[in-house]
């Protein structure tokens, strides 16, 4: 379904490869966690599958297509087989939930009759059957992400790519999102999810591929993930390179201006006389 053969990706501005000699295979119907600290190459990995980037070297085959030989003109048609979900949802703020999901079908030229069947069905699947006419800002973060998932899967893609889908959500909401993704996977869609939330990875007992500095350092059929601090987010603060100096850590009660307290009563009466002066003085 997805096959990487010795894939490297070097960005023009970067001296360090974003992905280095990656080889792996994902089978149809699998659920794969892609883990690693920020900057480890997870997003590059997903962008390569999406063909937003081309590999610098190596071969990528997705759904039987050799992505290096896929012409720009054919990329849109290739992408119709993929669904994508992001950390920041990327909903259209002026469109209702229904229209946000329908947008993905309308721009593919689907008929309104088809849209009016497919959209309510997929909204029911993600648990938003009763919120069709809400605008994104009227929804919670978890609900917005469900809309984004609905939009990604409404065209029944073979593969769903999720880039930190729970990154902005609290643990309870995250669990709801994970249930939705698990259901979609159970229906036959291959799911590839980038995350650095170890709690989720450890709970779900799925295949785990771990990246560090662009290299695959671990690929286990049922893996666990313990990032350095034992919890997500903080992984971002660890230095990317061994040789860089750690950033000075400030104590929580650190006060940058210790002598200033805006609420404290002032010892001297404030001189407001200038206010009167401007009014009483001779006009210029």
């Amino acid at each position: 379904m997805i096959r990487f053969d010795g894939v490297s990706k070097v960005y023009r501005t970067g001296n360090r490869p974003a992905l280095h000699d990656a080889t792996l295979e994902v089978k149809p119907g699998e659920f794969v966690f892609l883990v690693g600290a920020s900057g480890s190459g997870k997003s590059s990995f997903l962008r390569l599958i999406l063909r937003e980037e081309r590999a610098s070297s190596g071969n990528i085959h997705v759904l039987g297509q050799d992505l290096a030989r896929l012409s720009n003109r054919k990329v849109p048609f290739y992408r119709r087989n993929l669904g994508v979900v992001f950390q920041d949802f990327r909903l259209l703020p002026t469109k209702t939930v229904f229209d946000n999901v329908a947008f993905a079908l309308r721009v593919l030229g689907k008929s309104e009759a088809f849209i009016h069947d497919a959209v309510p069905e997929v909204l029911g699947l993600v648990g938003l059957g009763n919120k069709e006419n809400r605008l994104p800002h009227e929804l919670s973060g978890g609900e917005q992400q469900r809309v984004a998932i609905a939009r990604a899967v409404v065209n029944k893609p073979a593969i769903l790519l999720a880039d930190e889908p729970t990154g902005n959500l609290d643990p309870n909401t995250s669990k709801g999102i994970m249930d939705v993704l698990t259901n979609i996977n159970a229906a036959g869609t291959t799911v590839l999810m980038a995350t650095h939330d170890s709690a989720i990875v450890n709970k779900f007992h799925k295949r785990v591929i771990e990246l560090t500095d662009g290299r695959i350092i671990r690929d286990e059929a049922v893996g666990r993930y313990n990032n350095s601090e034992g919890h997500n987010r903080t992984a971002d603060l660890t230095p990317l390179r061994a040789d860089s100096q750690p950033i000075a850590v400030l104590p929580l009660d650190f006060d940058p201006i210790p002598d200033f307290d805006p609420m404290a009563p002032t010892s001297e009466a404030i001189d407001l006389s200038y206010l009167d002066r401007t009014n009483t003085e001779e006009p210029l």
Partner: protein
């Protein structure tokens, strides 16, 4: 494909960008009015050329008793000299080039002069003997007046040979310069119009960048993504082209046919019939300009 969606998107783009669309309309209007004027001015020059050049004759002026020009020596051209010139003009070598020629004596020249300058004080000063006797020559090919110059220019009794076309050339040179100026201004304005259309489309694409990003992500075809923008540019430019057509028609009806035709009744001016050829040119040019510049502007958003 769903044209309805594409049209709605194009309409939304136009609505959201009203001030830029108005400026595109105005720039297109002005530039295409210049283009149309240049085309019509050229048509006018061509029609005047064929009208006047056909009427233009070569005049062979003969000596008068006052003339010192050419072969003249203050001697009236003698009957022999006149006969010699006439024989030369009627000779076999010149016949293929000459349509017809006729002689005009002092009295006939005076009548024509009085008629042409009727009401002017100069008529009272001129007497028939001041005006030269003339052979008027109509050429089969008006451009070949040089042959007449060579054949009779040096003959005794001939004062000078004048091609009337030389008077017209000055006027046509002026009209040509005017139409070239119009073409130059039009070219500059067209460049401005193209850049403005590109900027407008870029702004429009920027205001819809979220939609564009999602369209690319879910695999909307390039055709589907770019057509609304190209339509947006073409619609704005076409409104400008239509207004330019109205402006051209207005110039023709009110200025050329209304004012100039009254002021210069002897000149044949271009009619609305000529303008009907210009209108499709303007509409086509406007649409082409808009679609090309909009396509270039939007293509950077389509890079995958």
């Amino acid at each position: 494909m769903s044209w309805r969606f594409v049209l709605i998107e194009a309409w939304n783009g136009l609505r959201r960008n009203v001030s830029m669309v108005v400026s595109v309309v105005l720039v297109t209007l002005v530039s295409l009015t210049f283009v149309g004027s240049a085309v019509l001015l050229q048509a006018q020059v061509q029609s005047m050329k064929s009208f006047w050049y056909d009427k233009a004759q070569v005049a062979v002026y003969l000596c008068t008793q006052y003339s010192t020009l050419g072969t003249c020596d203050q001697q009236e051209a003698s009957a022999d000299q006149i006969a010699a010139v006439e024989a030369q003009l009627g000779s076999d070598t010149l016949t293929p080039y000459i349509d017809k020629f006729y002689f005009e004596n002092h009295e006939q020249a005076y009548e024509v002069f009085v008629e042409q300058f009727a009401g002017s004080a100069v008529v009272d000063l001129v007497t028939p003997d001041l005006l030269p006797q003339t052979f008027w020559v109509n050429l089969t090919d008006p451009t070949q007046s040089a042959i007449i110059f060579e054949a009779v220019g040096g003959m005794s009794g001939v004062e000078s040979v004048v091609d009337q076309r030389s008077y017209l050339d000055g006027i046509f040179a002026m009209l040509n310069a005017a139409s070239l100026t119009a073409v130059g201004v039009a070219a500059l304005m067209l460049v401005a119009a193209a850049l403005l259309i590109a900027t407008t489309i870029r702004l429009s694409a920027f205001s819809r960048r979220r939609e564009l990003a999602i369209m690319r992500l879910v695999g909307a075809s390039n055709w589907f993504i770019q057509t609304p923008f190209i339509l947006e540019g073409v619609v704005a430019a076409t409104i400008g082209s239509l207004l330019a057509c109205v402006a051209i028609a207005g110039i023709l009806i009110f200025f050329v046919n209304g004012y100039l035709a009254d002021a210069l009744p002897t000149t044949a001016f271009i009619e609305m019939g000529d303008a009907w050829i210009v209108f499709p040119i303007l509409l086509g040019l406007g649409a082409l300009l808009a679609s090309v510049s909009a396509y270039i502007a939007i293509s950077r958003y389509l890079r995958v």
